[in-house]
Amino acid sequence: MDIFLSEKNRVVRQSVRRFCEKEIKPIAAEIDRECSFPWEVVEKMGRLGYFGIQAPRELGGAGLDSVSYVIVIEEISKGCAGLGLCVSVHNSVALYPILAFGTREQKQKWVPPLARGQKIGAFCLTEPNAGSDASGIEATAIRKGDHYVLNGNKVFVTNGGVADTCLIFARTDPGAGSKGISVVIAERGTPGFVVGDLEDLCGVRANPVSSIRLYDCRVPLENLLGKEGMGLRIGLTALDTGRLGIAAQGVGIAQAAFEEATKYAKQRKQFGVPISRHQAMGMMIADMATQVDAARLLVLRAAVLRDQGKPFSRQSAMAKLYASETSTSVTDMAVQIHGGYGYSKAYPVERYYRDARVTRIYEGTSEIHRMVIARSVLE
């Protein structure tokens, strides 16, 4: 694995790992239980550059490569998947589209506070009637003078409860089908911008996932990202990068579960020997190790391609599909190895098992990913 990493990537890994061991791991069980967003730790992460991993340094970011990016997400997710989700979504689908499609003025205005973690970003695409089919969104952004007037109901917004800067997907031309979708940036605090209740989720509970509703919310025309009608293109570009992050999150959760399961299998004795010596347990551990490595390699490959400026869309879809499936199967085996204790909140694998499940759903379900991959293979 490590042969693919540069010295810089390794220093990133060591540094982030040390931070997560010290600051995130000790509170992970509690913030999951309490559904609380750990502001104090998040502020520290902001000062260390975790919210602007790839943003240019002159705009307040760390200016790192994609390989470093997936390493950071993996390490944070290993400690707390909810925080891993926060950092992944913020960096990839909230901040990156502004860098990729924003004007100079937009970048100067929006990127520095996001990259420093002083503001948190969100990506608002999903609606009650539009999930996998993003082109089915109903939210509108209608031009009135020098403003867009936003109306709509966005659901399952990662970071929703704390986000300041939100990318809203809405129809600027309601008659134009999927060509009428645009991205407009809306800020929390704008009249008509209403944050709904937090979702009571199965996993990633430290993340304040919520709905965001827009009632005649007026934002200046200069908040349009790219051009009118470019919404789906911006969304797909963002999701290519986002999927890398979610794939890395899956690897992080799986790695954590794998480490716990291996430790437990060596300690727990039944029939007079550590259970790791029972062949069935050894087989599971072999499968876990192999799947985690394979998933990480797929993630690294997509990240390297992105760093080289080559197409990485199919590879990022494969990485997301495989890493999320790995994450659910590895956490499942980790629970199995722990027996009854794995089903108890007294052990962390119970949390990993819940956290892993959603990686197969958000930023494109596994089914949608298979469709995307099949299409690109068969075309």
């Binding site: 490590d2 540069s6 010295e7 810089k8 390794r10 220093v11 990133v12 060591q14 540094s15 982030v16 040390r18 931070f19 520290k44 000062r47 260390l48 550059g49 975790y50 991993i53 340094r57 970011g61 760390a62 200016g63 790192l64 470093s68 950071v72």
Partner: protein
Amino acid sequence: MSLKIIVCVKAVVVGAPGGRVIRSSNSCELNPFDRPPLEAALRMKEEKGASLTVLSMGPPSCAFVLHEAIAMGAARGILVSDPALAGSDTLATSAALGAALQKLAPFDLVLFGTRSADGDTGHVGPQTAVLLDLPLVGSVDLIEKKGAGLVVERTLDGFRESFEVRLPAALTIHPGFSEPRDVPLAGIQGAFEREQVETWSLSDLGLSAEQVGEKGSPTRVTAISKADRRRKCEFLSGSEEEQAEQVAQRLTEWGLLE
């Protein structure tokens, strides 16, 4: 006048898969005992505008500890590296570091950790100071500037000691000096973007292969084996109350409970 500070750091081995030690960024990390002196120097840099160079002896694969220190705020890194240095004991290490420090002279302050997490001798700081004829105070946890020198303090055997030292001087910094900082990602990118680490070989230092490495090392580790820790395990029986009673009785007998 701003101080010119040099911090000596080491990459220590944290993992030896299969019992083989290969020094690299996978198996090594910045010695945790070197973080407090780095922190002390970084604070002097931030508060008093000191200049900060980090110095390490080790194979090229360990240069990353210098990059890490640069990521935290050091300006320059020097790696003393030469195949002939392999097998150096603490005296030979001090000789190499001392020669590098002389090349970096003039400086005001050299900081060391109190010991390393792998070798654990605590020799290198004091030995290097002796070789360079520098005044040394060990286990310092407070540093203040006074006139042309420093006032430093430490706690030893339950006493608080305060020293005035003239500069240049050497200090080893107590691990409890303060919480070492985390490494900012932008710093890491910066540390690798523009090469700020120089590598010095023996000839750069004016040393011969006889003065260092195994030849220059008066001590040698001849064997390492697992210590025979004589522990006795005794199982108590009876009800919980009876067992607790027996525990209390034993602890009293051993003078651990009154």
